[in-house]
Amino acid sequence: MGYHSVVCVKQVPDTSNISGEAMKPDGTVNRAALAAIFNPEDLHALEAALDIRDAYGGTVTVLSMGPLGAAEVLRECLYRGADRAVLVTDRRAAASDTLATSYILAQAVRKLKDYDFVFCGRQAIDGDTAQVGPQMAEKLGIAQVTYFEKLVELDGRTVRVRRNVGNGWEILEGRLPLLLTVLDTANEPRPASARRVMQRKRSRAVDELRKEIAAAMPGASEDERENAFADGVEKLKMAGQLIEQWNLDDIAADLQWCGLAGSPTKVHRVQSIVLTKEGFTEVPPTEDAIRTMIHELIVDHTLG
Protein backbone atom coordinates (compact mmCIF):
# COMPACT_ATOMS: atom_id res chain seq x y z
CA MET A 1 0.00 0.00 0.00
CA GLY A 2 0.96 3.61 0.04
CA TYR A 3 2.01 5.83 -2.82
CA HIS A 4 4.94 5.69 -5.17
CA SER A 5 6.46 9.11 -5.76
CA VAL A 6 9.11 9.94 -8.31
CA VAL A 7 11.12 13.08 -7.60
CA CYS A 8 13.16 14.74 -10.35
CA VAL A 9 16.26 16.47 -9.05
CA LYS A 10 18.99 18.39 -10.82
CA GLN A 11 22.55 19.26 -10.09
CA VAL A 12 23.11 22.86 -11.12
CA PRO A 13 25.94 25.38 -11.17
CA ASP A 14 25.55 27.80 -8.32
CA THR A 15 24.53 30.83 -10.35
CA SER A 16 23.77 32.88 -7.27
CA ASN A 17 27.43 32.95 -6.29
CA ILE A 18 29.16 33.92 -9.48
CA SER A 19 32.78 34.84 -9.09
CA GLY A 20 35.01 36.69 -11.50
CA GLU A 21 36.31 33.53 -13.15
CA ALA A 22 32.84 32.27 -14.01
CA MET A 23 32.87 33.93 -17.38
CA LYS A 24 35.48 33.13 -19.99
CA PRO A 25 36.95 36.01 -21.99
CA ASP A 26 34.87 34.96 -25.01
CA GLY A 27 31.70 35.52 -23.01
CA THR A 28 30.74 31.91 -22.46
CA VAL A 29 30.18 30.38 -19.08
CA ASN A 30 33.05 28.57 -17.47
CA ARG A 31 31.09 25.82 -15.76
CA ALA A 32 34.22 24.41 -14.20
CA ALA A 33 34.60 27.55 -12.09
CA LEU A 34 31.13 27.25 -10.59
CA ALA A 35 30.31 25.08 -7.62
CA ALA A 36 27.78 22.33 -8.42
CA ILE A 37 24.88 22.32 -6.01
CA PHE A 38 21.53 20.65 -5.42
CA ASN A 39 18.94 22.75 -7.22
CA PRO A 40 17.30 24.51 -4.26
CA GLU A 41 13.64 24.00 -5.14
CA ASP A 42 14.20 20.31 -5.85
CA LEU A 43 14.93 19.83 -2.15
CA HIS A 44 11.38 21.00 -1.48
CA ALA A 45 10.06 18.58 -4.10
CA LEU A 46 11.88 15.76 -2.31
CA GLU A 47 10.49 16.85 1.04
CA ALA A 48 6.94 16.90 -0.33
CA ALA A 49 7.36 13.30 -1.51
CA LEU A 50 8.93 12.17 1.77
CA ASP A 51 6.04 13.79 3.66
CA ILE A 52 3.53 11.72 1.73
CA ARG A 53 5.50 8.54 2.29
CA ASP A 54 5.79 9.26 6.01
CA ALA A 55 2.05 9.88 6.31
CA TYR A 56 0.63 7.23 3.94
CA GLY A 57 3.43 4.75 3.31
CA GLY A 58 4.96 3.88 -0.04
CA THR A 59 8.27 4.62 -1.68
CA VAL A 60 10.21 7.60 -2.99
CA THR A 61 12.36 7.20 -6.08
CA VAL A 62 14.69 10.02 -7.05
CA LEU A 63 15.61 10.55 -10.66
CA SER A 64 18.26 12.78 -12.15
CA MET A 65 19.55 13.35 -15.63
CA GLY A 66 23.03 14.71 -16.07
CA PRO A 67 26.70 13.85 -16.12
CA LEU A 68 28.06 11.23 -13.74
CA GLY A 69 28.71 13.91 -11.12
CA ALA A 70 24.95 14.25 -10.67
CA ALA A 71 25.10 11.01 -8.65
CA GLU A 72 26.13 13.33 -5.84
CA VAL A 73 22.67 14.93 -5.60
CA LEU A 74 21.12 11.46 -5.69
CA ARG A 75 23.25 10.39 -2.72
CA GLU A 76 22.14 13.57 -0.98
CA CYS A 77 18.53 12.41 -1.54
CA LEU A 78 19.34 9.00 -0.09
CA TYR A 79 20.79 10.71 3.00
CA ARG A 80 17.54 12.58 3.41
CA GLY A 81 15.38 9.50 3.10
CA ALA A 82 14.80 8.55 -0.53
CA ASP A 83 14.45 4.79 -1.10
CA ARG A 84 15.76 4.38 -4.59
CA ALA A 85 17.94 6.45 -6.91
CA VAL A 86 18.24 6.43 -10.69
CA LEU A 87 20.70 8.39 -12.79
CA VAL A 88 20.07 8.87 -16.48
CA THR A 89 23.40 9.68 -18.04
CA ASP A 90 24.33 9.51 -21.69
CA ARG A 91 26.54 11.68 -23.87
CA ARG A 92 23.84 11.60 -26.54
CA ALA A 93 21.60 13.55 -24.15
CA ALA A 94 24.00 16.49 -24.07
CA ALA A 95 22.73 19.83 -25.41
CA SER A 96 19.12 18.86 -24.77
CA ASP A 97 16.81 21.84 -24.39
CA THR A 98 13.82 21.66 -22.06
CA LEU A 99 11.69 19.75 -24.57
CA ALA A 100 14.29 17.04 -25.13
CA THR A 101 15.05 16.89 -21.40
CA SER A 102 11.40 16.42 -20.56
CA TYR A 103 11.14 13.65 -23.14
CA ILE A 104 14.12 11.79 -21.66
CA LEU A 105 12.91 12.18 -18.07
CA ALA A 106 9.40 11.09 -19.08
CA GLN A 107 10.85 7.96 -20.70
CA ALA A 108 12.68 7.19 -17.46
CA VAL A 109 9.52 7.72 -15.41
CA ARG A 110 7.65 5.35 -17.74
CA LYS A 111 10.30 2.71 -17.12
CA LEU A 112 9.78 3.14 -13.37
CA LYS A 113 6.09 2.26 -13.90
CA ASP A 114 3.23 2.44 -11.38
CA TYR A 115 3.92 5.90 -10.09
CA ASP A 116 1.29 7.99 -8.32
CA PHE A 117 3.06 11.33 -8.01
CA VAL A 118 5.84 12.96 -9.96
CA PHE A 119 7.41 15.88 -8.09
CA CYS A 120 9.71 18.50 -9.56
CA GLY A 121 11.05 21.73 -8.13
CA ARG A 122 9.30 24.70 -9.68
CA GLN A 123 12.41 25.61 -11.67
CA ALA A 124 16.17 25.20 -11.76
CA ILE A 125 18.45 28.14 -11.06
CA ASP A 126 20.66 27.64 -14.11
CA GLY A 127 17.86 28.23 -16.60
CA ASP A 128 14.94 29.51 -14.53
CA THR A 129 12.57 28.26 -17.22
CA ALA A 130 10.07 26.20 -15.16
CA GLN A 131 9.30 24.29 -18.36
CA VAL A 132 10.49 20.76 -17.77
CA GLY A 133 7.78 19.86 -15.23
CA PRO A 134 4.76 20.80 -17.38
CA GLN A 135 6.41 19.32 -20.47
CA MET A 136 7.03 16.02 -18.68
CA ALA A 137 3.41 15.91 -17.56
CA GLU A 138 2.28 16.34 -21.15
CA LYS A 139 4.68 13.63 -22.36
CA LEU A 140 3.38 11.26 -19.67
CA GLY A 141 -0.22 12.12 -20.53
CA ILE A 142 -1.02 13.15 -16.96
CA ALA A 143 -2.30 16.38 -15.42
CA GLN A 144 0.02 18.89 -13.82
CA VAL A 145 -0.34 21.23 -10.88
CA THR A 146 2.35 23.88 -10.77
CA TYR A 147 3.32 26.03 -7.74
CA PHE A 148 2.33 23.31 -5.26
CA GLU A 149 2.33 24.59 -1.71
CA LYS A 150 0.29 22.18 0.37
CA LEU A 151 -1.33 18.79 0.30
CA VAL A 152 -4.87 19.41 1.52
CA GLU A 153 -6.34 15.94 1.26
CA LEU A 154 -5.37 12.56 -0.12
CA ASP A 155 -8.03 9.89 -0.26
CA GLY A 156 -7.46 6.83 -2.41
CA ARG A 157 -6.88 8.12 -5.94
CA THR A 158 -8.31 11.59 -5.30
CA VAL A 159 -6.07 14.39 -4.17
CA ARG A 160 -6.63 18.01 -3.21
CA VAL A 161 -3.72 20.41 -3.31
CA ARG A 162 -3.26 24.10 -2.73
CA ARG A 163 -1.24 26.06 -5.25
CA ASN A 164 0.08 29.57 -4.87
CA VAL A 165 -0.39 31.73 -7.95
CA GLY A 166 1.37 34.85 -6.70
CA ASN A 167 -1.69 37.07 -6.37
CA GLY A 168 -3.65 34.42 -4.53
CA TRP A 169 -4.11 30.70 -4.17
CA GLU A 170 -6.47 27.97 -5.20
CA ILE A 171 -7.33 24.45 -4.18
CA LEU A 172 -7.52 21.97 -7.03
CA GLU A 173 -8.86 18.45 -6.96
CA GLY A 174 -7.57 15.81 -9.32
CA ARG A 175 -7.04 12.11 -9.79
CA LEU A 176 -3.70 10.35 -9.54
CA PRO A 177 -1.26 10.13 -11.18
CA LEU A 178 -0.36 13.80 -11.07
CA LEU A 179 2.76 15.82 -11.64
CA LEU A 180 3.38 18.61 -9.14
CA THR A 181 5.98 21.37 -9.29
CA VAL A 182 6.89 22.54 -5.81
CA LEU A 183 7.57 26.03 -4.45
CA ASP A 184 10.20 26.72 -1.82
CA THR A 185 7.45 27.96 0.49
CA ALA A 186 5.85 24.48 0.54
CA ASN A 187 7.92 23.03 3.36
CA GLU A 188 11.17 22.99 5.25
CA PRO A 189 13.43 20.29 3.78
CA ARG A 190 14.69 17.86 6.39
CA PRO A 191 18.45 17.68 6.80
CA ALA A 192 20.43 14.57 5.97
CA SER A 193 20.28 12.16 8.87
CA ALA A 194 23.61 10.99 10.29
CA ARG A 195 22.33 7.42 10.37
CA ARG A 196 21.35 7.49 6.73
CA VAL A 197 24.64 9.09 5.72
CA MET A 198 26.44 6.17 7.37
CA GLN A 199 24.12 3.73 5.60
CA ARG A 200 24.25 5.25 2.14
CA LYS A 201 27.61 6.98 1.80
CA ARG A 202 28.95 3.99 -0.12
CA SER A 203 26.14 4.10 -2.67
CA ARG A 204 27.56 4.37 -6.16
CA ALA A 205 26.50 4.42 -9.79
CA VAL A 206 28.34 1.81 -11.85
CA ASP A 207 30.49 4.30 -13.72
CA GLU A 208 31.55 5.88 -10.46
CA LEU A 209 32.67 2.47 -9.28
CA ARG A 210 34.52 1.90 -12.53
CA LYS A 211 36.39 5.18 -12.12
CA GLU A 212 37.22 4.46 -8.50
CA ILE A 213 38.61 1.06 -9.39
CA ALA A 214 40.71 2.51 -12.20
CA ALA A 215 42.12 5.07 -9.77
CA ALA A 216 42.74 2.51 -7.03
CA MET A 217 44.46 -0.08 -9.27
CA PRO A 218 46.74 1.94 -11.55
CA GLY A 219 49.09 -0.92 -12.33
CA ALA A 220 46.47 -3.61 -12.80
CA SER A 221 45.65 -5.31 -16.09
CA GLU A 222 42.36 -4.82 -17.90
CA ASP A 223 41.18 -8.24 -16.71
CA GLU A 224 42.04 -7.58 -13.10
CA ARG A 225 40.13 -4.32 -13.20
CA GLU A 226 37.13 -5.93 -14.87
CA ASN A 227 37.06 -8.62 -12.22
CA ALA A 228 37.30 -6.09 -9.43
CA PHE A 229 34.52 -4.09 -11.10
CA ALA A 230 32.19 -7.10 -11.50
CA ASP A 231 32.88 -7.98 -7.90
CA GLY A 232 32.21 -4.43 -6.78
CA VAL A 233 28.88 -4.21 -8.64
CA GLU A 234 27.80 -7.48 -7.07
CA LYS A 235 28.65 -6.18 -3.61
CA LEU A 236 26.78 -2.92 -4.19
CA LYS A 237 23.74 -4.83 -5.36
CA MET A 238 23.81 -7.19 -2.41
CA ALA A 239 24.10 -4.29 -0.02
CA GLY A 240 21.33 -2.35 -1.79
CA GLN A 241 23.85 0.40 -2.48
CA LEU A 242 23.63 0.60 -6.25
CA ILE A 243 22.51 3.86 -7.78
CA GLU A 244 20.87 2.60 -10.93
CA GLN A 245 22.44 4.06 -14.04
CA TRP A 246 20.47 4.16 -17.26
CA ASN A 247 21.41 5.31 -20.71
CA LEU A 248 19.06 6.32 -23.53
CA ASP A 249 18.77 2.73 -24.77
CA ASP A 250 17.74 1.52 -21.32
CA ILE A 251 14.78 3.88 -21.35
CA ALA A 252 13.89 3.10 -24.98
CA ALA A 253 14.39 6.74 -25.99
CA ASP A 254 13.97 7.60 -29.64
CA LEU A 255 17.14 9.54 -30.47
CA GLN A 256 15.35 11.95 -32.77
CA TRP A 257 13.78 13.51 -29.65
CA CYS A 258 17.00 13.65 -27.62
CA GLY A 259 20.02 15.93 -27.43
CA LEU A 260 20.62 18.56 -30.07
CA ALA A 261 18.43 16.78 -32.65
CA GLY A 262 15.48 16.74 -30.27
CA SER A 263 15.85 20.37 -29.29
CA PRO A 264 13.88 22.88 -31.34
CA THR A 265 15.48 25.84 -29.61
CA LYS A 266 19.06 26.66 -30.50
CA VAL A 267 21.37 29.20 -28.99
CA HIS A 268 22.10 31.76 -31.66
CA ARG A 269 24.36 34.00 -29.67
CA VAL A 270 25.54 34.56 -26.13
CA GLN A 271 26.83 37.80 -24.74
CA SER A 272 28.27 38.25 -21.32
CA ILE A 273 26.97 41.35 -19.75
CA VAL A 274 29.37 44.17 -20.25
CA LEU A 275 29.04 47.20 -18.09
CA THR A 276 28.58 50.28 -20.18
CA LYS A 277 30.39 53.07 -18.46
CA GLU A 278 28.83 56.22 -19.80
CA GLY A 279 29.73 58.31 -16.83
CA PHE A 280 27.48 59.87 -14.24
CA THR A 281 27.36 63.02 -12.23
CA GLU A 282 29.31 62.38 -9.08
CA VAL A 283 27.63 64.06 -6.15
CA PRO A 284 29.83 64.54 -3.10
CA PRO A 285 28.21 63.32 0.14
CA THR A 286 27.62 66.79 1.52
CA GLU A 287 24.40 68.56 2.43
CA ASP A 288 24.94 71.30 -0.14
CA ALA A 289 25.62 68.94 -3.01
CA ILE A 290 22.63 66.79 -2.18
CA ARG A 291 20.40 69.85 -1.91
CA THR A 292 21.56 70.90 -5.39
CA MET A 293 20.83 67.44 -6.80
CA ILE A 294 17.32 67.40 -5.31
CA HIS A 295 16.77 70.88 -6.74
CA GLU A 296 17.77 69.68 -10.22
CA LEU A 297 15.39 66.74 -9.97
CA ILE A 298 12.54 69.02 -9.02
CA VAL A 299 13.34 71.48 -11.82
CA ASP A 300 13.32 68.74 -14.46
CA HIS A 301 10.04 67.35 -13.01
CA THR A 302 11.55 64.03 -11.98
CA LEU A 303 10.46 64.81 -8.44
CA GLY A 304 7.31 66.50 -7.27
Binding site: L99, G168, T265, K266, K277, F280, V283, M293, I294
Partner: protein
Protein backbone atom coordinates in the same frame (compact mmCIF):
# COMPACT_ATOMS: atom_id res chain seq x y z
CA UNK B 1 4.56 20.64 -34.65
CA UNK B 2 3.91 22.74 -37.70
CA UNK B 3 6.33 23.51 -40.48
CA UNK B 4 7.76 26.98 -40.96
CA UNK B 5 4.97 28.98 -42.46
CA UNK B 6 5.95 32.41 -43.70
CA UNK B 7 2.38 33.59 -44.09
CA UNK B 8 1.53 32.63 -40.52
CA UNK B 9 0.22 35.26 -38.15
CA UNK B 10 1.92 36.60 -35.03
CA UNK B 11 -0.14 35.66 -31.99
CA UNK B 12 -0.52 36.70 -28.41
CA UNK B 13 -2.17 34.52 -25.80
CA UNK B 14 -4.72 36.90 -24.26
CA UNK B 15 -4.62 36.23 -20.55
CA UNK B 16 -7.64 37.34 -18.57
CA UNK B 17 -8.90 36.63 -15.09
CA UNK B 18 -12.33 37.51 -13.78
CA UNK B 19 -13.12 39.49 -16.91
CA UNK B 20 -9.99 41.60 -16.78
CA UNK B 21 -7.19 41.44 -19.33
CA UNK B 22 -3.78 41.18 -17.74
CA UNK B 23 -1.57 44.21 -18.46
CA UNK B 24 1.18 42.03 -19.87
CA UNK B 25 -1.19 40.90 -22.63
CA UNK B 26 -1.60 44.48 -23.80
CA UNK B 27 2.16 45.05 -23.55
CA UNK B 28 2.64 41.99 -25.77
CA UNK B 29 0.02 43.17 -28.26
CA UNK B 30 2.16 46.22 -28.94
CA UNK B 31 5.25 44.09 -29.50
CA UNK B 32 3.39 41.52 -31.60
CA UNK B 33 2.01 44.35 -33.75
CA UNK B 34 5.59 45.50 -34.45
CA UNK B 35 6.75 41.97 -35.26
CA UNK B 36 3.76 41.38 -37.54
CA UNK B 37 4.41 44.66 -39.38
CA UNK B 38 8.04 43.70 -39.90
CA UNK B 39 6.93 40.35 -41.33
CA UNK B 40 4.00 41.87 -43.27
CA UNK B 41 1.49 39.47 -41.71
CA UNK B 42 -1.57 39.83 -39.53
CA UNK B 43 -1.50 39.89 -35.76
CA UNK B 44 -3.90 37.70 -33.82
CA UNK B 45 -4.90 37.19 -30.21
CA UNK B 46 -6.20 33.92 -28.77
CA UNK B 47 -8.79 34.60 -26.10
CA UNK B 48 -10.16 31.59 -24.21
CA UNK B 49 -12.62 32.21 -21.40
CA UNK B 50 -16.25 32.46 -20.46
CA UNK B 51 -18.18 35.57 -21.45
CA UNK B 52 -15.02 37.27 -22.64
CA UNK B 53 -16.02 38.39 -26.14
CA UNK B 54 -16.24 42.01 -24.99
CA UNK B 55 -12.54 41.99 -24.16
CA UNK B 56 -11.75 41.52 -27.85
CA UNK B 57 -12.21 45.25 -28.49
CA UNK B 58 -9.34 46.14 -26.17
CA UNK B 59 -7.10 43.62 -27.91
CA UNK B 60 -8.03 45.14 -31.25
CA UNK B 61 -7.40 48.64 -29.92
CA UNK B 62 -3.91 47.49 -28.90
CA UNK B 63 -3.09 46.10 -32.32
CA UNK B 64 -4.85 42.78 -32.99
CA UNK B 65 -6.25 42.25 -36.50
CA UNK B 66 -8.03 39.09 -35.44
CA UNK B 67 -9.23 37.81 -32.10
CA UNK B 68 -9.95 34.10 -31.81
CA UNK B 69 -12.48 33.79 -29.01
CA UNK B 70 -13.37 30.47 -27.43
CA UNK B 71 -16.32 30.87 -25.09
CA UNK B 72 -17.00 27.87 -22.88
CA UNK B 73 -17.97 27.28 -19.24
CA UNK B 74 -15.00 24.91 -18.97
CA UNK B 75 -12.84 28.00 -19.44
CA UNK B 76 -14.36 30.12 -16.70
CA UNK B 77 -11.29 29.80 -14.48
CA UNK B 78 -7.84 29.11 -15.80
CA UNK B 79 -7.03 25.41 -15.78
CA UNK B 80 -4.04 24.04 -17.62
CA UNK B 81 -5.61 21.30 -19.68
CA UNK B 82 -8.67 23.01 -21.21
CA UNK B 83 -6.63 26.13 -21.96
CA UNK B 84 -3.84 24.07 -23.51
CA UNK B 85 -6.45 22.30 -25.65
CA UNK B 86 -7.70 25.65 -26.98
CA UNK B 87 -4.18 26.84 -27.79
CA UNK B 88 -3.18 23.60 -29.49
CA UNK B 89 -6.41 23.53 -31.51
CA UNK B 90 -6.00 27.11 -32.63
CA UNK B 91 -2.36 26.57 -33.58
CA UNK B 92 -3.25 23.46 -35.56
CA UNK B 93 -6.16 25.16 -37.32
CA UNK B 94 -4.50 28.46 -38.19
CA UNK B 95 -0.75 27.78 -38.15
CA UNK B 96 0.62 31.01 -36.70
CA UNK B 97 4.37 31.49 -37.05
CA UNK B 98 4.86 33.08 -33.63
CA UNK B 99 2.96 32.71 -30.35
CA UNK B 100 3.92 34.79 -27.32
CA UNK B 101 2.66 34.54 -23.75
CA UNK B 102 3.16 36.68 -20.66
CA UNK B 103 5.66 35.08 -18.27
CA UNK B 104 3.00 35.11 -15.57
CA UNK B 105 2.06 32.20 -13.31
CA UNK B 106 -0.56 31.30 -15.94
CA UNK B 107 1.65 31.81 -19.00
CA UNK B 108 4.50 29.85 -17.46
CA UNK B 109 2.12 26.98 -16.67
CA UNK B 110 0.37 26.95 -20.02
CA UNK B 111 3.10 27.62 -22.59
CA UNK B 112 5.30 24.58 -21.80
CA UNK B 113 2.28 22.27 -21.88
CA UNK B 114 1.38 23.61 -25.33
CA UNK B 115 4.99 23.52 -26.54
CA UNK B 116 5.29 19.88 -25.51
CA UNK B 117 2.13 18.83 -27.29
CA UNK B 118 3.08 20.80 -30.41
CA UNK B 119 6.69 19.52 -30.15
CA UNK B 120 7.69 23.12 -30.70
CA UNK B 121 10.39 25.26 -29.14
CA UNK B 122 9.72 27.61 -26.26
CA UNK B 123 11.97 30.22 -24.68
CA UNK B 124 11.12 31.39 -21.18
CA UNK B 125 11.19 34.89 -19.74
CA UNK B 126 12.33 36.86 -22.74
CA UNK B 127 13.22 40.48 -22.20
CA UNK B 128 13.23 41.35 -25.88
CA UNK B 129 12.02 39.96 -29.19
CA UNK B 130 13.26 40.92 -32.63
CA UNK B 131 13.04 39.68 -36.18
CA UNK B 132 16.39 38.72 -37.63
CA UNK B 133 18.27 36.08 -39.53
CA UNK B 134 20.43 33.14 -38.60
CA UNK B 135 23.20 31.70 -40.68
CA UNK B 136 23.64 27.98 -40.22
CA UNK B 137 27.31 27.72 -41.15
CA UNK B 138 27.41 23.94 -41.00
CA UNK B 139 24.61 23.47 -43.50
CA UNK B 140 25.38 26.68 -45.39
CA UNK B 141 21.84 27.94 -45.14
CA UNK B 142 20.51 31.28 -44.01
CA UNK B 143 17.21 31.36 -42.16
CA UNK B 144 15.61 34.73 -42.70
CA UNK B 145 12.91 36.47 -40.69
CA UNK B 146 13.24 34.40 -37.55
CA UNK B 147 12.07 35.39 -34.12
CA UNK B 148 15.14 36.24 -32.07
CA UNK B 149 14.24 35.40 -28.48
CA UNK B 150 16.44 37.36 -26.14
CA UNK B 151 16.69 36.47 -22.48
CA UNK B 152 19.05 36.67 -19.56
CA UNK B 153 20.44 33.27 -18.56
CA UNK B 154 22.71 31.77 -15.97
CA UNK B 155 21.40 33.84 -13.12
CA UNK B 156 21.42 36.89 -15.36
CA UNK B 157 25.15 36.79 -16.07
CA UNK B 158 24.72 36.33 -19.77
CA UNK B 159 22.22 37.41 -22.38
CA UNK B 160 21.32 34.61 -24.75
CA UNK B 161 19.59 34.91 -28.10
CA UNK B 162 17.58 31.80 -28.84
CA UNK B 163 16.08 30.81 -32.17
CA UNK B 164 13.89 28.03 -33.45
CA UNK B 165 14.09 27.63 -37.19
CA UNK B 166 12.46 24.30 -37.90
CA UNK B 167 9.80 23.25 -35.42
CA UNK B 168 7.20 25.98 -35.35
CA UNK B 169 5.41 27.93 -34.07
CA UNK B 170 8.21 29.95 -32.55
CA UNK B 171 7.05 30.49 -28.99
CA UNK B 172 8.25 32.56 -26.07
CA UNK B 173 7.07 33.84 -22.73
CA UNK B 174 7.90 37.47 -22.04
CA UNK B 175 8.45 39.06 -18.67
CA UNK B 176 5.85 41.43 -17.35
CA UNK B 177 6.65 45.10 -17.63
CA UNK B 178 9.52 44.85 -20.11
CA UNK B 179 7.51 45.82 -23.18
CA UNK B 180 5.86 49.20 -23.20
CA UNK B 181 2.09 49.25 -23.14
CA UNK B 182 0.68 51.49 -25.85
CA UNK B 183 -2.25 53.78 -25.25
CA UNK B 184 -4.52 51.73 -27.51
CA UNK B 185 -6.55 53.13 -30.37
CA UNK B 186 -10.29 52.51 -29.92
CA UNK B 187 -10.93 53.44 -33.55
CA UNK B 188 -8.89 50.48 -34.88
CA UNK B 189 -10.99 47.74 -36.41
CA UNK B 190 -10.45 44.04 -36.33
CA UNK B 191 -12.21 40.75 -36.79
CA UNK B 192 -13.65 38.65 -33.98
CA UNK B 193 -13.71 34.96 -34.81
CA UNK B 194 -15.58 32.55 -32.59
CA UNK B 195 -14.03 29.12 -32.33
CA UNK B 196 -15.47 26.17 -30.51
CA UNK B 197 -13.33 23.44 -29.00
CA UNK B 198 -14.24 20.04 -27.55
CA UNK B 199 -12.73 18.87 -24.27
CA UNK B 200 -12.11 15.28 -23.26
CA UNK B 201 -13.00 13.93 -19.82
CA UNK B 202 -9.32 13.87 -18.96
CA UNK B 203 -8.99 17.55 -19.88
CA UNK B 204 -11.91 18.35 -17.59
CA UNK B 205 -10.59 16.19 -14.76
CA UNK B 206 -9.01 18.88 -12.58
CA UNK B 207 -11.60 20.77 -10.56
CA UNK B 208 -11.17 24.17 -8.92
CA UNK B 209 -12.49 23.61 -5.41
CA UNK B 210 -11.64 26.98 -3.94
CA UNK B 211 -10.13 30.12 -5.34
CA UNK B 212 -8.79 33.21 -3.68
CA UNK B 213 -7.33 36.31 -5.28
CA UNK B 214 -5.92 39.37 -3.63
CA UNK B 215 -4.92 42.72 -5.01
CA UNK B 216 -1.18 43.07 -5.31
CA UNK B 217 -0.13 44.91 -2.19
CA UNK B 218 3.06 46.25 -3.63
CA UNK B 219 2.67 47.88 -6.97
CA UNK B 220 6.21 48.61 -8.04
CA UNK B 221 5.36 48.70 -11.69
CA UNK B 222 3.03 51.64 -11.31
CA UNK B 223 5.29 53.65 -9.01
CA UNK B 224 6.70 56.91 -10.36
CA UNK B 225 9.58 56.85 -7.93
CA UNK B 226 11.18 53.88 -6.21
CA UNK B 227 13.62 53.90 -3.32
CA UNK B 228 15.37 50.55 -3.16
CA UNK B 229 17.68 49.14 -0.52
CA UNK B 230 20.24 46.38 -0.84
CA UNK B 231 22.53 44.28 1.29
CA UNK B 232 24.50 47.40 2.18
CA UNK B 233 21.59 48.64 4.29
CA UNK B 234 22.78 46.05 6.78
CA UNK B 235 19.72 45.07 8.78
CA UNK B 236 15.97 44.96 8.89
CA UNK B 237 15.95 47.77 11.46
CA UNK B 238 18.13 49.95 9.32
CA UNK B 239 15.85 49.33 6.34
CA UNK B 240 13.54 51.84 8.03
CA UNK B 241 15.77 54.48 6.42
CA UNK B 242 14.65 53.28 3.00
CA UNK B 243 11.00 53.44 4.07
CA UNK B 244 11.58 56.95 5.41
CA UNK B 245 13.10 58.24 2.20
CA UNK B 246 10.34 56.62 0.15
CA UNK B 247 7.80 58.26 2.45
CA UNK B 248 9.46 61.67 2.04
CA UNK B 249 9.31 61.58 -1.77
CA UNK B 250 6.04 59.65 -2.02
CA UNK B 251 7.68 56.66 -3.67
CA UNK B 252 7.43 52.89 -3.42
CA UNK B 253 9.96 50.73 -1.59
CA UNK B 254 12.06 48.33 -3.65
CA UNK B 255 14.80 45.91 -2.70
CA UNK B 256 17.59 43.88 -4.18
CA UNK B 257 17.77 40.12 -3.83
CA UNK B 258 20.44 40.49 -1.16
CA UNK B 259 18.06 42.57 0.98
CA UNK B 260 15.26 40.05 0.50
CA UNK B 261 17.53 37.09 1.22
CA UNK B 262 18.80 38.93 4.28
CA UNK B 263 15.23 39.13 5.56
CA UNK B 264 15.20 42.96 5.54
CA UNK B 265 12.01 43.06 3.54
CA UNK B 266 9.41 40.88 1.86
CA UNK B 267 10.06 39.33 -1.57
CA UNK B 268 7.15 41.23 -3.13
CA UNK B 269 9.42 44.30 -3.07
CA UNK B 270 12.20 42.66 -5.06
CA UNK B 271 13.35 44.41 -8.20
CA UNK B 272 15.37 42.54 -10.78
CA UNK B 273 15.35 39.57 -13.02
CA UNK B 274 13.78 37.30 -10.42
CA UNK B 275 11.57 40.06 -9.06
CA UNK B 276 9.75 42.88 -10.79
CA UNK B 277 11.07 44.81 -13.77
CA UNK B 278 10.50 48.52 -13.26
CA UNK B 279 11.08 51.73 -15.15
CA UNK B 280 10.05 54.60 -12.90
CA UNK B 281 10.86 58.26 -13.44
CA UNK B 282 13.35 58.03 -10.57
CA UNK B 283 15.08 55.04 -9.01
CA UNK B 284 17.21 55.55 -5.93
CA UNK B 285 19.47 52.57 -5.22
CA UNK B 286 20.82 52.59 -1.67
CA UNK B 287 23.49 50.12 -0.70
CA UNK B 288 22.86 48.03 -3.81
CA UNK B 289 26.03 46.84 -5.49
CA UNK B 290 24.16 46.28 -8.74
CA UNK B 291 24.45 42.62 -9.64
CA UNK B 292 23.46 42.15 -13.23
CA UNK B 293 20.22 40.47 -12.29
CA UNK B 294 19.22 43.58 -10.37
CA UNK B 295 20.32 46.03 -13.04
CA UNK B 296 18.35 44.12 -15.65
CA UNK B 297 15.22 44.99 -13.70
CA UNK B 298 15.80 48.72 -13.23
CA UNK B 299 18.33 50.09 -15.70
CA UNK B 300 15.64 51.56 -17.91
CA UNK B 301 14.52 53.92 -15.18
CA UNK B 302 14.50 57.49 -16.50
CA UNK B 303 16.82 58.71 -13.73
CA UNK B 304 18.90 56.63 -11.37
CA UNK B 305 20.62 57.78 -8.21
CA UNK B 306 23.12 55.29 -6.79
CA UNK B 307 24.39 55.53 -3.25
CA UNK B 308 27.20 53.17 -2.33
CA UNK B 309 30.37 53.32 -0.29
CA UNK B 310 32.24 51.33 -2.96
CA UNK B 311 33.01 53.57 -5.91
CA UNK B 312 33.69 50.48 -8.04
CA UNK B 313 30.19 49.05 -7.48
CA UNK B 314 28.58 48.10 -10.82
CA UNK B 315 25.43 50.04 -9.92
CA UNK B 316 27.30 53.24 -10.83
CA UNK B 317 27.56 52.03 -14.43
CA UNK B 318 23.83 52.65 -14.90
CA UNK B 319 23.54 55.67 -12.60
CA UNK B 320 22.89 59.26 -13.60
CA UNK B 321 23.84 60.57 -10.17
CA UNK B 322 26.36 58.71 -8.07
CA UNK B 323 27.05 59.40 -4.42
CA UNK B 324 30.00 57.53 -2.96
CA UNK B 325 29.71 57.34 0.78
CA UNK B 326 27.82 56.05 3.80
CA UNK B 327 24.12 55.73 3.09
CA UNK B 328 23.37 56.13 6.80
CA UNK B 329 24.55 59.74 6.50
CA UNK B 330 23.47 60.41 2.91
CA UNK B 331 19.86 59.19 3.13
CA UNK B 332 19.00 61.47 6.08
CA UNK B 333 20.58 64.38 4.17
CA UNK B 334 18.31 63.62 1.23
CA UNK B 335 15.24 63.42 3.44
CA UNK B 336 16.18 66.77 4.93
CA UNK B 337 16.75 68.36 1.51
CA UNK B 338 13.37 67.11 0.26
CA UNK B 339 11.54 68.34 3.34
CA UNK B 340 13.13 71.77 2.93
CA UNK B 341 11.69 72.02 -0.56
CA UNK B 342 8.21 70.93 0.39
Amino acid sequence: MISPNRKGEVWVFAEQEDGRINDVTLELCGKARELADTLCVKMGAVLPGWNVRELSYRLIAHGADRVYVTHDTELEYYRTLPYARVLCEMITRHEPQIVIYGATPIGRDLAPRVASEMKAGLTADCTDLEIGEYEDKKNKTVHKNLLLQIRPAFGGNIIATIINYDRWPQMATVREGVMRMGAGDPSRSGEIIEESVEFSDFEKSIRVVERHREARKVNLKAARTIVAGGGGVGSKDNFQLIHDLAGAIGGAVGASRAAVDGGFIDKTHQVGQTGTTVRPALYIACGISGAVQHRAGMEESAKIIAINWDKEAPIFSVAHYGIVGDLNKIVPMMIKAIKERA
